[in-house]
Amino acid sequence: MTVAGWSLTACGSSSGSGQSITLYNGQHEQTTDSLVAGFEKATGITVNVRNDDEDILADEIVTEGSSSPADVIYTENSPVLEYLQSKDLLAKVDPSALAHTPSKYSSPEGDWVGVSARVSVLIYNPGLIAKSQLPTTVLQLADPRYKGELAFAAGETDFQPIVTSVARTYGKTAALNWLDGIKTNSASHVYPDNETIADEVNRGAVAFGVVNQYYWYRMRAELGASNVDAKITFFAPYDPGYVLDVSGAAVLKSSKHQTDAQKFLDFIVSKKGQEIIAHSISFEYPIASGVTTAQPETPFDQLQPNSITIPELGDGTTAIALLKQAGLL
């Protein structure tokens, strides 16, 4: 991430050299940084990275429309990409890139490609709650006995798939009641994001919360194993709270650098790119090109997530509407 030149960016998309692309990055920076470095080294194409929350980037793209400076968007979760697809802003991904990833983890229409995956887990502080006392199903999060013990991040995009999943299994009315219970249980522990939940649980400010598995591994890498008291555990197999989230990338229809942008997609799902993910400290599961995680996580093929599919996760609007109705947003 060198200086992109403050004077050169007045018209971001006008550069015609073809030797640089602009990446809107909603994925965690540590994942993207190493992928970008590997890509630049392999191809000689420079990548200008704009980091922000994935929702903000997606909607910047919608606002920018056909003049968007972005060539590629790379997100943590599929709903954002599905949302951009519904706005007809994504170009088709080259079939060669799509072929690297199992088709159930990519856009059914071929508009974006799945890059990596995580699962939702419970993170808890054994000093505050015993493992045997933890909920085993997502519905129990709303159980009144957890009042004051649950940490919750309403604005966190990682939580929306769980809401969608609960609504799919139990219906919207039940989901709304469930969210009401969560609201009561988490009243004093509403945090902005999963990093904060992991941190606060670890510090003993609150007993437990729901995050994706990699936050715990990353926190351990950041703080050192001796500073991490928090532990993680899975929901019961196939529980609606046990959700696999897919991170993906897409090329913008408006991109003036289609070839180079497609090359970037191709790189991150190639064996080389997936190896970078497998060995980086992002702790996501590589899902393409047959690469498996090198980290001490539960192996990907031993996970037992709920059967909810990418199209069923959709663009997240149902989840957001429910969260609003419950007064959480």
């Binding site: 991430m1 060198t2 200086v3 992109a4 030149g5 403050w6 004077s7 960016t9 007045a10 018209c11 971001g12 602009t22 920076e29 540590q30 940084d33 200008n48 990275v49 704009r50 980091n51 929350d53 929702d55 903000i56 997606a58 909607d59 910047e60 919608v62 606002t63 920018e64 003049s67 400076p69 309403a154 604005g155 004093s188 522990h189 509403v190 945090y191 902005p192 994001d193 990093e195 904060t196 992991a198 941190d199 606060e200 003993g204 400010a205 990353r218 926190m219 890498a221 950041e222 703080l223 050192g224 400290i281 997240g316 609007t317 957001i320 969260l323 609003k324 007064g327 959480l328 947003l329």
Partner: protein, 533 residues
């Protein structure tokens, strides 16, 4: 910190510098002020456009949902409590420094003000990363009080310094004890200054984001960000921002009402004179301990915590940009913004000071509303106008970011420029002209020496504020560029405290050192200015 004090003095007594009653209004000033006002109004226009597009029913629905009640409660109770605490701490500290024989008061005078230069999100990071006790409401009260009390201290110290000490002497000679003298005379003298400081505190609290995000405390502003992050809900964010603007107007209204019609009189001519200081006596030790605690909590904890994390941090997870690169961009953007904001303030200040009138005063006071708007809203507004009306001109580029800073911190620039213009009454220039000096000579020998230091101070104030700006920067910064604040934020959000800490320290250094040096330099200003009066 005398300049800032002098500057602050003018905020809190806008009517002090009486217009000189000229009948003719120079069109250039009016046009200039009009353009500035239009630029400052842009964010409000944007909010109204968004609100209009959404429709009144939807907005009413958004505003009257259950979440709003808890946000309103959170925002109001925090604003009231912190403003009150700041008023008490700021006033007492100012009185001790200005009116008592507090040992080492010149050192305290600087140390007590420096926390103002430390970004709120660094203060809350310092506290929150040390203990889980500091979170939620109590955390927000603690952190924000420590971060913003100088906004009360500065104007009150300035007003005590320039107020007539003779009244206290008269009161005491008539048999009033020290405490009663303080309550009945000193507080009365400083009333306007306390109110002015409280207004600034309240407005800043309304728009604060970073600190509350770290502390996990929900207010209107944090909710505006959440709305924006989840599904980019600009209409909802705009509706909530309008509530903030209304709250800001309420704050300014309370201020106007509380000022009342009180008049101040002097027993002698407007000349500074040395006051006999109040003996602290047995209270000396407790007062010293109090000052030590205040500085330790407000300044020591964030710095110590940053140093601690620098050595205790974990893996170097993020590559990020170098401190040098981030520092250069930060300095460049902030410097440019400071220059532009100061230039923008000139016509408005000249109009207000030299021509006055209710219109000019309304314009001047209304610019304070900018303080109550989160940086995000200003940034969104500029993006919107760039996308919709300017063919993306300036979008995600330095000029737009610099303009955003200039708008955000215009009130600070105005306050300083206004103070300096008030120091250079037009009749001084007329006297010089009548003594046969040419226009240029008048400018060089009279106007600039009088106005220059205040303008430099404005520049520095805006510069300091811009160095620590976060939320507008996140939206408008050119792709690939990081400022000190955004890079700190990226690390902090990732729990990479070890990597965040050096950026916090550099921000503190950049912000604190110049403010200290400047305060020493400008110490000479009031004497010179008043002598010419």
């Amino acid at each position: 910190m005398t300049t800032i004090q002098e500057i602050a003095l003018v905020v809190e007594r806008p009517s002090e510098a009486a217009p000189t009653g000229r009948k003719t209004r120079p069109w250039s000033l009016l046009v200039g002020s009009g353009i500035v006002a239009a630029v400052l109004l842009a964010p409000l226009v944007f909010l109204l456009i968004e609100a209009n597009g959404t429709g009144a029913t939807t907005i009413a629905h958004l505003i009257w949902r259950s979440l709003t009640r808890s946000l309103l409660w959170n925002t109001v109770r925090l604003t009231v409590v912190v403003t009150f605490l700041c008023a008490v701490i700021g006033t007492l500290a100012a009185w001790c420094v200005e009116r008592t024989n507090l040992p080492g008061r010149h050192v305290w005078a600087v140390l007590v003000v420096v926390p103002f230069a430390i970004p709120d999100f660094v203060v809350s990071f310092g506290w929150a990363s040390l203990s889980t006790w500091v979170q939620g409401f109590r955390g927000a009260v603690l952190v924000m009080t420590l971060a913003v009390y100088p906004l009360v201290y500065l104007p009150v110290a300035a007003s005590l310094r320039s107020a007539d000490p003779g009244q206290e002497e008269v009161a005491r000679s008539l048999g009033l004890g020290p405490l009663r003298t303080f309550l009945r005379v000193t507080l009365g003298q400083a009333r306007g200054a306390i109110l002015g400081g409280c207004v600034l505190v309240a407005l800043v609290l309304l728009a604060e984001y970073g600190a509350f995000e770290i502390l996990g405390y929900q207010t209107f502003t944090t909710e505006i960000f959440t709305e924006f992050q989840v599904s980019f809900n600009v209409p909802t964010a705009s509706a909530l921002s309008l509530v903030l603007v209304v709250l800001g107007i309420v704050v300014l209204g309370i201020d106007a009402a509380a000022r009342g019609k009180g008049r101040m009189a002097r027993t002698g001519p407007q000349v500074q004179r040395v006051t006999e200081r109040q003996e602290l006596g047995r209270a000396k030790l407790p007062v010293l301990i109090g000052f030590g605690a205040l500085v330790g909590l407000a300044l020591g904890v964030p710095i110590a915590s940053s140093v601690y994390w620098m050595f205790e941090g974990g893996a170097q997870a993020l590559s990020g940009v170098s401190i040098l690169d981030a520092g250069w961009h930060t300095a460049f953007y902030s410097g440019a913004a400071a220059a532009i904001a100061t230039l923008m303030a000139l016509p408005v200040a000249l109009l207000a000071v030299r021509h006055g009138g209710p219109g000019a005063r309304l314009l001047e006071r209304s610019t304070f509303l900018v303080l109550a708007m989160p940086g995000l809203v200003i940034a969104l507004a500029l993006s919107y106008f760039s996308n919709h009306y300017a063919n993306d001109f300036g979008y995600q580029s330095a000029p737009l970011l610099i303009l955003a800073y200039a708008i955000l911190f215009f009130p600070l620039a105005l306050v300083g420029v206004r103070a300096s213009v008030a120091y250079a009454p037009v009749n001084l220039e007329e006297v010089a002209r009548s003594l046969g000096q040419g226009r240029l000579a008048v400018l060089r020998r009279v106007t600039l020496p009088l106005v220059g230091p205040g303008i430099a101070a404005s520049f520095c104030l805006v510069f300091l504020a811009a160095v620590t700006e976060l939320t507008a920067t996140l939206i408008l910064v050119p792709t690939g560029v990081q400022t000190l604040a955004t890079q700190f934020w990226a690390y902090q959000q990732n729990l990479s405290y070890g990597q965040a800490a050096p950026f916090a320290l550099v921000i503190i250094a950049i912000a604190a050192v110049p403010s200290y040096v400047l305060s020493r330099y400008f110490d000479r200003l009031p004497a010179r200015a008043t002598r010419l009066d």
